[in-house]
């Protein structure tokens, strides 16, 4: 660790003693708020840092301050860097890093919306999370805001849509209630004829106050809440959250559970990727592969029901391990099913990419260039389809991934086809990972016991590379060991701005297939 801290201290140009190594794979430094931009620049230039989360916490009651946190992934060092800076409640503002690091854009505005701390120097100081009818001065994540406050609706226009003018230019509003069976969000297309000139988003329709709710529930019940952040990523979020709580409580997860957790995460990846590939076919009206993909997905979730008693893998993760074991018969059934599925899946992909009418629709559609993806800090599957080689399973291995060998598929096109191919290749890797994991299942208990109470005044990060990308959670306790603040970062939060860059230049009828190729979560984004 000391070599890592030395390298970080050197790159950030700070004294090494200021870098605290608290938990494995995570170092922290506290700086003055004014230094946040310099640290951000130095981390990106010297350490190839990538921003994965940015948030605030309200410590006024005990320490008379707010704290702003930046969480950076340092992939080369297998370490996360948490940079924190105090903010004086008398001067509720902090320096923005968005102009130079656009990944911070929504994060900083969300801090403004929920804490009332203003990111000074932010190029677009509009609301992002709060809707127009939310009054000014009600900051939901401050500790003195009662979670059951009935906030009055007011007239307001804090979030204007930017007008696009010109002869024949008009706006097409879509949502929040959509035509399909999908989540709610509002899209505003500015079009000239068919081609889209500009796309604006308004999300946060399904903001449920989940981060606030974490502070309210008794901590042993909070894992169920983590599973409901995004229903398609139950394992991903449950894992990231359990990691945070286990690291906070310094509990080691037994080896068998670590392997089973990797299996569960891959099973979640498989059913989602296969369903998405089918949905891409649906969106270009190619029904045969769409039906096949749906049947394959249904076969998988029924197998999960047989093995774990739950179709969408809810309730499989426990603090300290996993809830259900996989019997030798169960493992055999899984192997047999995956062997059969591998052949079917292969023929599904062949059917798609051999059809000119399909590839015509997905090639060079919805391109997110490598440069834009880098600038915006796009993560996960969408980043890998734009040539960014990043994957927490390899760069910051969690669970059993350090002992499982696998490839991280990367495509360079950045179009719908590239995102399709990354998914297809990831499913193939998942087959390998599960097969290897089942061969090496160690014989240990399924879970470690958790303490009755969490340690007081502690904080830890937890992460997992779920099917969309990195789920990053931060949990902190107060002086009584109660959860003081939980920050959830779903990969969708970083990736939604990418969609607004991938759509312009395409025609409106291609929007569904572009949107589906990202398949971002609304619930995970809005929380």
């Amino acid at each position: 660790m000391s070599m890592v801290t030395a390298e970080i201290a050197n790159a950030l140009n700070v004294a090494e003693y200021r870098i605290q190594a608290r938990q494995p794979g995570e170092v922290a430094i506290e700086v003055r708020a004014a230094d946040l931009p310099f640290i951000a620049d130095a981390a990106v230039q010297g350490l190839n840092a990538r921003l994965l989360s940015l948030f605030a916490a309200d410590e006024r009651a005990r320490r008379g301050r707010f704290v702003v946190h930046h969480v950076w992934s340092l992939p080369k060092l297998d370490t996360f860097l948490s940079v924190s800076a105090p903010v004086d409640p008398a001067e509720p503002s902090f320096p923005s890093i968005t102009a130079r690091h656009p990944a911070a854009n929504w994060f900083e505005r969300e801090v403004m919306d929920y804490f009332g701390l203003v990111p000074e120097g932010h190029p677009n100081l509009e609301r992002v999370a709060l809707h127009d009818d939310w009054p000014e001065g009600a900051w939901a994540l401050r500790k003195d805001f009662d979670p059951e406050t009935q906030v009055p609706r007011v007239e307001g226009s804090f979030h204007p849509f930017r007008p696009v003018t010109g002869e024949g230019v008009f706006q097409v509003p879509v949502g929040p209630v959509h035509a399909g069976i999908i989540e709610p969000g509002h899209f505003r297309f500015d079009v000239a004829g068919e081609p889209v000139l500009y796309l604006q988003l308004r999300l946060f329709y399904v903001h449920k106050g989940i981060e606030k709710r974490f502070e309210r529930l008794p901590w042993p019940h909070t894992l169920f809440l983590a599973e409901s952040i995004s229903g398609d990523t139950a394992v991903g979020h449950a894992l990231a959250y359990s990691h945070a709580i286990e690291r906070l409580a310094e509990v080691e997860v037994p080896a068998r559970a670590q392997v089973l957790r990797a299996v569960l995460l891959e099973l979640e990846r498989m059913y989602n990727h296969i369903a998405d590939i089918g949905a891409l076919a649906t969106d270009v009206a190619f029904t045969v592969p769409a039906s096949r993909a749906q049947a394959q997905r249904e076969g998988l979730v029924r197998l999960y029901e047989r093995l774990f008693g739950t179709r969408l893998l809810r309730g499989t993760i426990a603090f300290g391990g996993v809830k259900h074991d996989l019997t030798p018969e169960g493992a055999d059934a899984l192997r047999r099913h995956l062997r059969m599925l591998e052949r079917e899946f292969d023929s599904l992909i062949t059917l798609l990419i051999d059809s000119g009418s399909f590839t015509d629709r997905v090639d060079v559609t919805g391109v997110l260039s490598n440069q834009v993806a880098r600038d915006l800090g796009i993560v996960g599957m969408a980043a890998r389809a734009s040539g960014i080689d990043a994957d927490l399973r390899r760069d910051h291995p969690h669970d059993a991934y350090s002992s499982l060998t696998f490839e991280v598929p990367v495509e360079s096109g950045g179009d719908v086809r590239a995102r399709l191919m990354v998914r297809a290749r990831e499913v193939e890797q998942s087959f390998r990972i599960v097969s290897r994991a089942l061969d090496m299942l160690p014989d240990t208990p399924l879970r470690s016991s958790m303490p009755d109470a969490l340690p007081a005044d502690a904080a830890a990060l937890g992460w997992a590379e779920a099917w969309r990308g990195p789920c990053v959670h931060w949990a902190a306790t107060d002086e009584r060991g109660q959860l003081m603040r939980v920050k959830i970062t779903d990969p969708s939060f970083l990736n939604w701005p990418g969609l607004t860059h991938a759509v312009p230049g395409n025609i409106i009828p291609d929007f569904p297939v572009i949107n589906k190729s990202f398949n971002l979560s609304y619930s995970g984004n809005d929380r």
């Binding site: 035509a179 946060f204 903001h207 809440l225 997905r297 029924r302 739950t310």
Partner: protein
């Protein structure tokens, strides 16, 4: 093209003729109330308050179990020291009111020892299943008898219910053969299939969607959140709670998320084709 046709003929029909025969390993918990000693372990383990006990008078307590808020986590089954809570295997639970999804039992408390003894099952307030079914039938006056056009509205869901609603359209379940069809606009819909917890930011959109739906409109609430707010609770600043806090709900389909056959069953209950059933059958004790 030729290969696609040959493959499809080889695959044949994969739609299941009897979708309701699929029994999940865990549907909803079943409490054997006469066995219960009211130790409260299950109520403490329950993350949503679906199991709840309270004093109901001098020397009396009640224990209630509500499927409306059950997220099917099994914590109660694992917590019960008396093995009085077991894993039910019914996926097809649907009702017309929230109280119909609740069971309550009264217990006598021994003043000296504090021990609790089961006395009786209480009658739930409100109409019975048959009365509600008849009332719904009267209201729609046979107009929706043979088919339903459904508009799904996500009013705050985590997307779990949406995945399972979408699964009802897959080739195995194929709900269109029952005359159920998902439509793109509320103006084409007979039924609003609403998932929740209704959020503050979706409340207005949900209300407007309801107003855009022609009479006789039927509202079906889906999922623990749609039925009761689920793990997100009710009365929060952002998550307001169950759909019935905003709209009159005709049918409740509980579960977290409900399985596709449960959703299909609930829609057929709304149509009056299947009878509503609200008490899960216990699996045989082993």
């Amino acid at each position: 093209m030729f290969k696609i046709i040959v493959d499809s003929i080889k695959t044949g029909v994969i739609t299941e003729s009897r979708p309701f025969d699929v029994r999940p390993s865990f549907g909803f918990p079943v409490i054997d109330f006469p066995r219960c000693t009211l130790c409260d372990e299950c109520a403490r383990a329950c993350p949503t308050g679906a199991i709840h006990s309270q004093a109901s008078g001098p020397g009396q307590r009640t224990l209630s179990l509500s499927y409306a808020s059950c997220i099917q986590c099994r914590a109660c089954v694992e917590a019960c020291p008396e093995n009085a809570v077991s894993a039910g295997r019914d996926a097809e639970v649907a009702a017309f009111t929230r109280p119909q999804l609740q069971q309550t039992a009264s217990f006598d408390v021994d003043a000296a020892t504090g021990a609790c003894r089961f006395r009786q099952m209480d009658v739930q307030p409100g109409p019975s299943l048959e009365e509600s079914a008849a009332a719904l039938r009267d209201r729609i006056q046979g107009r929706l008898g043979r088919s339903l056009h459904v508009r799904q509205v996500d009013a705050g869901s985590c997307n779990g219910c949406e995945l399972e609603i979408a699964a009802t359209t897959n080739p195995l379940f194929d709900l269109e053969r029952f005359g159920v069809h998902f439509v793109a606009s509320p103006r084409h819909a007979d039924v609003l299939l609403v998932t929740g917890p209704v959020t503050r930011n979706m409340e207005v959109a949900l209300q407007r969607t309801y107003e855009a739906t022609p009479e006789p409109r039927v509202v079906v609430a889906v999922g623990a959140c749609g039925c009761s707010g689920g793990i997100f609770g009710e009365g929060g600043y952002a998550a307001l709670g169950g759909v019935d806090r905003i709209l009159p709900v005709d049918v409740y389909i509980p579960g977290c998320p409900p399985r596709p056959q449960g959703i299909l069953n609930g829609l057929l209950v709304a149509m009056g084709v299947r009878e509503a059933r609200t008490v899960a059958q216990a699996s045989p004790r082993v």
